[in-house]
């Protein structure tokens, strides 16, 4: 069945199909309609879940932590400032190895006040031990929501899926709704290895002294690394069950490309159009979309770009003093590889500014013109 729905509702419907059992969230623009739709689904019992309204995102995540510790499938969603407020609990969720799934509608952080799209909110949480996916369209949003639970529950780490504010969250597209029966087959009930149970009391996450702490952290790191393989397998299984798969990255017309653009989220869609036009003109340009950001798909990316002369990363985010975060990650990932192409870094579209084909053309043009990357990220699409 196809339905026309906004990206936020695609999240909600993904959660419904995944049969989440506890949902706790605090509303924030542009995430609000995810939670609104979920509360409707809970109210009319299409989704049999406990919906816990809370007074803050910090509490929302705390509720999810408690519920997940009791062994149930949990979900929350937030955005921008809300995600920032949740920060402390994000560490707890991953440290306690709880397979919580969260949708983050990427929004710029104030000040100055801004409610529009930018990935800095989620990327600022990249060290919290959560897997991170960035989605390009509403179908991918729904499908990734379902996949996220499966991945999280296998490796026992929480998963965050990201969608661009308004460009996806509030834009309607046709979305294929998978059959519940198939989703149930794909995603069976979650069986937690340990769970809070008053009949069998244990203490969880108790004080762990220096002579044990590092081992737990090491296990988290191993689980995160395993997350890449699991994500790949879950995506392939999903493809077999539903006829759609996305890969950890998605390379488009990169064969024989001398310049490969790297983008994520909705910018990748625009980049495809730009690439088509440039290819038409004989330019050997391709684009690769990074869907999985944590763990970082280094090998997959290297495989795509290794023969290109240049790589240009377009970041809708900024780490002040460093520049574009995807570019930074890419450089770090490639730095020990002698055959790496130079990585050009561009910052575009902050605070919801449109990243138009012209902006991306400018990126391509500048990258061709320069023999080597600038020291700092280049800001494109600025007022001039």
């Amino acid at each position: 069945m196809k339905k026309i729905m906004v990206g936020n509702h695609a999240v909600s419907w993904g959660v419904m199909l995944a049969r989440a059992e506890v949902i706790s969230a605090y509303p924030i623009t542009p995430q609000t309609t995810i939670v609104e739709e979920l509360s409707v689904l809970c109210a009319d019992e299409r989704l049999r879940a406990k919906f816990i309204p809370v007074e803050s995102e910090h509490s929302a995540m705390a509720c999810c932590v408690g519920a997940a510790a009791a062994g149930v499938r949990t979900f929350t969603a937030t955005s921008g400032q809300g995600l920032a407020l949740m920060h402390e609990m994000l560490h707890w969720a991953s440290g306690a190895r709880l397979p919580i799934v969260m949708a983050t509608v990427n929004r710029a952080l104030g000040s100055p006040w801004n409610i529009w799209g930018e990935q800095t909110d989620a990327l600022a949480q990249r060290d919290t031990g959560w897997l991170q996916f960035y989605c390009e369209n509403n179908q991918e949003v729904l499908d990734t929501t379902i996949q996220a639970f499966k991945i999280a529950e296998e490796i026992l780490l929480p998963v965050m899926l990201n969608l661009d504010a308004f460009f996806l969250s509030h834009t309607a597209e046709p979305v294929e709704i998978p059959e519940q029966r198939l989703v149930d087959n794909f995603l069976p009930r979650f069986e937690a290895p340990y769970r809070l149970d008053p009949q069998d009391p244990h203490s969880f996450g108790c004080l762990t002294p220096p002579d044990y702490f590092m081992e737990f952290r090491y296990k988290m790191q191993q689980a995160m690394l395993k997350g890449k393989e699991v994500s790949r397998r879950v995506d392939e299984d999903f493809g077999r069950a539903f006829g759609r798969k996305y890969g950890l990255i998605d390379a488009y017309r990169c064969e024989g490309a001398d310049l490969v653009l790297v983008a994520s989220g909705t910018i990748a869609s625009t980049a495809r159009v730009v690439v088509d036009a440039l290819r038409e003109k004989g330019r050997k340009v391709g684009v690769v979309k990074v869907r999985l950001f944590r763990p970082f798909p280094k090998e997959e990316l290297m495989e795509v770009v290794k023969d290109a002369e240049k790589v240009a990363v377009v970041d809708r985010n900024v780490s002040f003093g460093v520049g574009g975060i995807f570019a930074h990650e890419l450089r770090a990932a490639f730095c020990n590889d002698k055959s790496r192409p130079p990585v050009f870094s561009y910052i575009a579209g902050l605070g919801g500014r449109d990243v138009t084909p012209q902006v991306l053309n400018d990126v391509v043009y500048q990258t061709y013109k320069k023999s080597e990357p600038d020291e700092q990220s280049v800001w494109v699409g600025m007022r001039s």
């Binding site: 440290g95 306690a96 190895r97 026992l156 290895p193 340990y194 009391p201 244990h202 203490s203 969880f204 996450g205 108790c206 762990t208 044990y212 081992e215 737990f216 090491y218 296990k219 689980a223």
Partner: protein, 584 residues
């Protein structure tokens, strides 16, 4: 108990730290230096009820559908819930914390609701009692006298009630009209008192038929004759035919005597008697007008009654004082009046009327009913009993200066309301019991007093001293509540008979709450200061140190594990927990 495991290698460790068993052996309560404690306090409604009824407790029971249990709780303290549920001016509601949040709980309507339910189901209270040999005389069968008789009888005493009128009930019977308090309702509650073995002597008036000194066989006497004497207007023509007092008029109507009113009836006064008289006259086909010397603001009648009278179309002329009744052919035909303006405030805070010179005017009237106040006829009492300004001065027990003689109701120094009368009757019963047993009474108040306004609990008095849970001295106010947990919710009111149906009939005006509405209304109660097992503490305690004990509780604190964080106290919606310093 958990066992300790030493891990040699990373692979042997679980993916997260988890104890192998329960950790309750770790007594984290030893970290505590502040200690929460469940501490029920006084609800302001309970403090505000002169009859000492456990209103808060009854609200919980009604809310759970245990209506008869709620009625029994009231009936422990007050034999007249059906009466009070109709005529009480409900100081409980004016004390209700909810009134400063949205609207007070409809306690009065709920009291009537449970009493009516008990009546429909023929429910009676029975008391276990030891027979006592002492006999007590109660003079006056109004709410004070009968309440005193009720409580003394349940304690096993032989009680005889002397009543001047041919009927029992005092003002309830001869002062309050049928449309506010149907006789049937009153009689049913009186019958329940008589069923305890209370004897009565009707048509027996103190002074005319007997004297206090004749009651030698009674070691204790309770005086509760009430205020049945009308104050006179003190203006010329007052003795003419066609003039009578409000009390006399109401009494005649109540006793079923023929009352010939003309068409136009002037009722003088602004108290409840004036309104009762005017509304009764209206029902008898007259066209009453109330003349009041001040304005609506200063009027002493209960606001509800003023409102109902206005609905019924009764005319009220404010700032008017009568100066002369003019008779023609021996019958009143005109009333001369003066107009007033408001002057400075009296000692009671109400602005005093000041006559406007030359503002005289005349009203054509067929009947004048004066209702400017009542007082007591205490001429038959010996001086030594302790009188001041025609009021008996009692001590805090309700005892007069004469040994063994107690007094209550309208003839002592207290507000003249039904519920104060009931409270004074109960107080007298308690201290007559003490007196007859020769027991010490001075220390009793602390254990019986509900709040600071003089309400006493006889239920507590009758408990063994060691079963009496100590009473808190704190009355909970709005600021003590955690209002985050309460929603705004409109107060439920009783439906009333249509105005058109009220005229020409003495049928009851207020019609009672339905069961569903009553339950909803009772659940509006904040249960100020009293744990109602809402379980907020249980839900919020981060140490799982609040323990539930079955459905009816009480919840208890596991001090072995309570770290004293205080979240339970903070999140208690109703101030039923306190935080105290840990004594080590």
């Amino acid at each position: 108990m958990s066992e300790q495991i030493i891990f040699k290698r990373e692979e042997d460790m679980p993916y997260q730290p988890i104890s192998t068993g329960s950790m309750t052996w770790n007594k984290t309560g030893s970290w505590r230096y502040l200690r929460p404690r469940f501490d029920n306090k006084i609800s302001p409604c309970n403090e505000g009820c002169p009859a000492g009824q456990d209103i808060e407790g009854a609200m919980v029971l009604i809310g759970k559908g245990k209506v008869l249990e709620a009625w029994e709780l009231f009936k422990q303290e007050n034999p007249f819930p059906a009466v009070c549920g109709r005529v009480c001016f409900h100081p409980c509601e004016s004390s209700c914390n909810r009134k400063d949040f949205d609207e007070a709980v409809s306690i009065n309507a709920l009291e009537r609701f449970m009493a009516d339910a008990a009546s429909r189901q023929g429910r009676r209270l029975s008391f276990k009692r030891e027979k006592r040999k002492e006999k007590i005389a109660v003079i006056g069968s109004g709410p004070a006298g009968l309440t005193c008789a009720y409580h003394l009888a349940r304690m096993g005493y032989g009680v005889t009630v002397f009543e001047a009128f041919p009927v029992l009930g005092g003002m309830l019977r001869v002062g309050i009209p049928e449309y506010r308090l149907p006789k049937k309702v009153l009689e049913e509650e009186i019958d329940q008192i008589l069923d305890l073995g209370v004897k009565t002597e009707i048509n027996t008036r103190l002074g005319a038929d007997f004297l206090l000194s004749d009651l030698k066989e009674y070691p204790a006497v309770f005086l509760a004759m009430g205020n049945h004497r009308s104050k006179s207007l003190g203006i010329p023509g007052e003795d003419s035919a066609g003039a009578m007092s409000g009390l006399e008029f109401l009494r005649n109507v109540s006793l079923g005597k023929e009352v010939a009113l003309g068409k136009r009836v002037a009722v003088i006064g602004g108290g409840n008697t004036a309104f009762d008289a005017a509304r009764s006259a209206l029902r008898l086909g007259a066209k009453p007008v109330i003349l009041y010397r001040r304005t609506r603001e200063e009027m002493p009648a209960f606001p509800g009654e003023i409102l109902e009278a206005e609905e019924e179309g009764i005319e009220v002329s404010y700032l008017v004082s009568p100066t002369r009744l003019i008779a023609e052919n021996g019958k009143i035909s005109r009333l001369e009046c003066l107009k007033n303006r408001l002057g400075p405030a009296d000692e009671d805070g109400r602005r005093r009327p000041v006559a406007i010179k030359g503002s005289n005017f005349f009203l054509e009237v067929d009947q004048v009913i004066s209702a400017i106040g009542e007082d007591a006829d205490l001429a038959a009492l010996p001086k030594r009993i302790g009188l001041k300004e025609n009021v008996i001065r009692t001590d805090e027990r309700g005892a007069t200066k004469q040994k063994g003689v107690f007094a209550g109701g309208d003839i002592i120094q207290q507000p003249r309301t039904v519920v104060h009368a009931i409270g004074s009757g109960k107080r007298a019963a308690i201290f007559i019991d003490c007196f007859l047993k020769g027991a010490k009474w001075e220390g009793l108040f602390d254990g019986l007093r509900i709040g600071e306004r003089g309400s006493l609990s006889i239920k507590r008095y009758l408990q063994e001293e060691n079963e009496r849970v100590p009473l808190s001295s704190k009355t909970v106010r709005l600021k003590d509540l955690n209002l985050d947990y309460f929603d705004y919710k409109k107060r439920k009111k009783m439906p009333q008979a249509q105005t058109s149906k009220r005229l020409g009939s003495f049928e009851e005006v207020n019609l009672g709450l339905s069961e569903e509405t009553a339950r909803e209304e009772a659940n509006r109660c904040f249960n100020c200061g009293v744990c109602n097992l809402c379980d907020n503490c249980y839900i919020f305690c981060p140490d799982v140190a609040i323990q539930k004990q079955g459905e009816d509780g009480p919840n208890v604190i596991d001090y072995d594990h309570c770290k004293g964080c205080g979240i339970c106290v903070e999140e208690c919606p109703r101030d039923a927990l306190v935080m105290e310093e840990e004594r080590k």
